[in-house]
Amino acid sequence: MSIEKTQPTLHLGVGDKLRLWWDALARPAQWGIGVPFIVLIALLPVLRPPVITTVGTDFGSVLAQFGMYALLAIGLNVVVGQTGLLDLGYVGFYAIGAYTVGLLTSPDSPWNLTDDWLSRDWAWLFAVPIAIGITAISGLILGTPTLRLRGDYLAIVTLGFGEIVRLLADNLSDITGGGRGLSQIAYPVVGESADKPNGVFSAGNTSAPLNSGTWWFWLSIVLIIIVLLIVGNLERSRVGRAWVAIREDEDAAEIMGVPTFKFKLWAFLIGASIGGLSGALYAGQVQFVVPTTFNVINSMLFLCAVVLGGQGNKLGVILGAFIIVYLPNFFLGRTELFGIPINGDDIANYKYLFFGLALVVLMIFRPQGLFPARQKLLTYGRGIYVATRQAALAAANAVTPAAVAPATSGTTTSDADAPLTKDAPLKKKADDTEGDA
């Protein structure tokens, strides 16, 4: 078995080691670790641990914003990280999602449905699927003509799209309220009580720790998990294989029989819908939308989250979103850190400078992002992990009875050598190749 020699035992980064450890766990063990971890994250705004808890802004609201940015990062990651289409106007979809909810439920809007037949209690829930649908359609409208363009051209056109959406919101004053925006947007009315007359999701619920921010954070965690499951399944399907092929080499993908235009459009549409969902959440949480929230700089910030976290890695980009949202808020209002006096407000105000610097440094030393993607084997994705895990277990068992050890360990390796299960889960040089931006 000279082939075994090629099995890479290269130095792995922390991320790779973590991933290998995770992949080697059985499904129940993964649940056993994953669920408490998510619960712990969800309990952060309740526990409010010292130092970590933000001082300038309410911790719950910061985490709620993180939840929305995480959704945006996951959606943008489908477009940029998975399919390799540089979208600089992603904020446009966020805006369309938020404005759809606003237009349907704000009393300032001419299309407000809540003063006649729609109960304000349910209006938000009613508007969310519509917002997702409309953003998806807008993704289709933007994508159909522009996805024939490539690289820089696509980036420029999408940049224009983001600005157009904002300018429309700013200038169609009769509909969108122009610069004044739309106020009193509906939110889910749940859990009314004496001290929370409008329910737990109302912006009026300010009694920490279980204030509205915490509740929106919890809602966004649920949505993130759902979206992750959907996107994860797509990535493992033929659609995901097509996306990766397009990112790697569009012409080669077409020559392999991948309908590239169709799948690029799908990526755009799915990315847009997730952005729209996040926008709908935002509109519900703050109950107020204005055009300035959807500045083009936000597109860059979302992109920054994706690139920082690691393009193509769903969990990495969530971490990227956390950094983008949390770090400025960590410093905001802070006057000392571990006894050292600092001017946190200044640091927070220069966040774009620091993120810019961080990106430059990252591009030099770790262009693939903090937690880069490792591609899974395409066709037999999970099957391979199961196979290699079984082989590893068998090998481990074979070592114990010393007498038969050499013979059995020999056979177990060749069992693992059945066609296509040969590929070990650790991919050599993954770090070197995933970084192409």
Partner: protein, 239 residues
């Protein structure tokens, strides 16, 4: 009825016609070569056949059907599979993943058919088996070429288009690649080959077309062309 027929095909880049009214046929089971100097229009012809490049005038027929307007990815499903010039392997995918992409449009009905095809590719290119967990971008030029051909074979093509498989390779590797091409052809896959390496290509092909500035100037049996004094002078460096 030929498997592939180009009728008076013209392909243009804006107003420049790279291919001007060429006609050629490839019969089932043949190994046909297109040779010509740089800029003769060989790769453009290939791109028109695989559908990457739109046709300005004329038509492309495959298996009795007019496929001039058919999209590139649909042609793959129909059985025209190309190993592109410059190899075009997916740089971030491993060898095995690259091979799996080959069968994207023409999926395997059974697992055993899949395994047999993979095994066949590894038989032809044992080097790929050694490198199977390595990503495409880190392979050598010759290995990438092998991978590009192997990947095309995963689609079990009816017509295999090979665009300059010898480009940039060492003489020994070129020999090896051509031997394998002949072997694939003997097993029944029709091949249209574009080459600059006239000696190797002509001696191994059934028929050949010589392309000069976008037009077919000579055609005939490969061995006859090898003996042709004009061809010798132009392409084989023999005075």
């Amino acid at each position: 009825m030929p498997l592939l027929e180009l009728k008076d095909l013209t392909v243009a880049y804006d107003r420049i016609e790279a291919v001007r009214g060429i006609s050629l046929t490839v019969d089932d089971g043949e190994l046909v070569t297109l040779i010509g100097a740089n800029g003769a229009g060989k790769t453009t012809t290939m791109r028109a056949i695989s559908g990457i490049r739109p046709v300005a005038r004329g038509s492309v027929w495959f298996d009795g059907r007019d496929i001039t307007r058919m999209k590139a990815h649909e042609r793959v499903s129909a059985g025209i599979v190309q190993a592109p010039e410059g190899r075009g392997v997916f740089p971030g995918m491993t060898v095995v993943e690259n091979l799996e992409m080959g069968s994207y449009a023409r999926t395997f009905k059974t697992k055993s058919e899949h395994d047999a095809t993979v095994e066949r590719v590894f038989d032809l290119f044992p080097r790929l088996l050694e490198r199977r967990t390595q990503v495409g971008g880190t392979l050598s030029g010759g290995e990438q070429q092998m991978l590009a051909i192997g990947r095309a074979l995963m689609a079990r093509p009816r017509l295999l288009l090979l665009d300059e498989p010898s480009m940039g390779l060492a003489p020994l590797v070129i020999q090896q690649i051509f031997r394998i091409i002949t072997e694939i052809n003997k097993e029944g896959t029709t091949i249209l080959l574009v080459e600059q390496n006239a000696q190797q290509a002509l001696s191994r092909s059934d028929r050949a077309y010589i392309l000069e500035t976008g037009e077919v100037t000579t055609s005939g049996r490969g061995k006859d062309l090898l003996a042709d004094p004009a061809v010798k002078q132009a392409y084989l460096g023999v005075a």
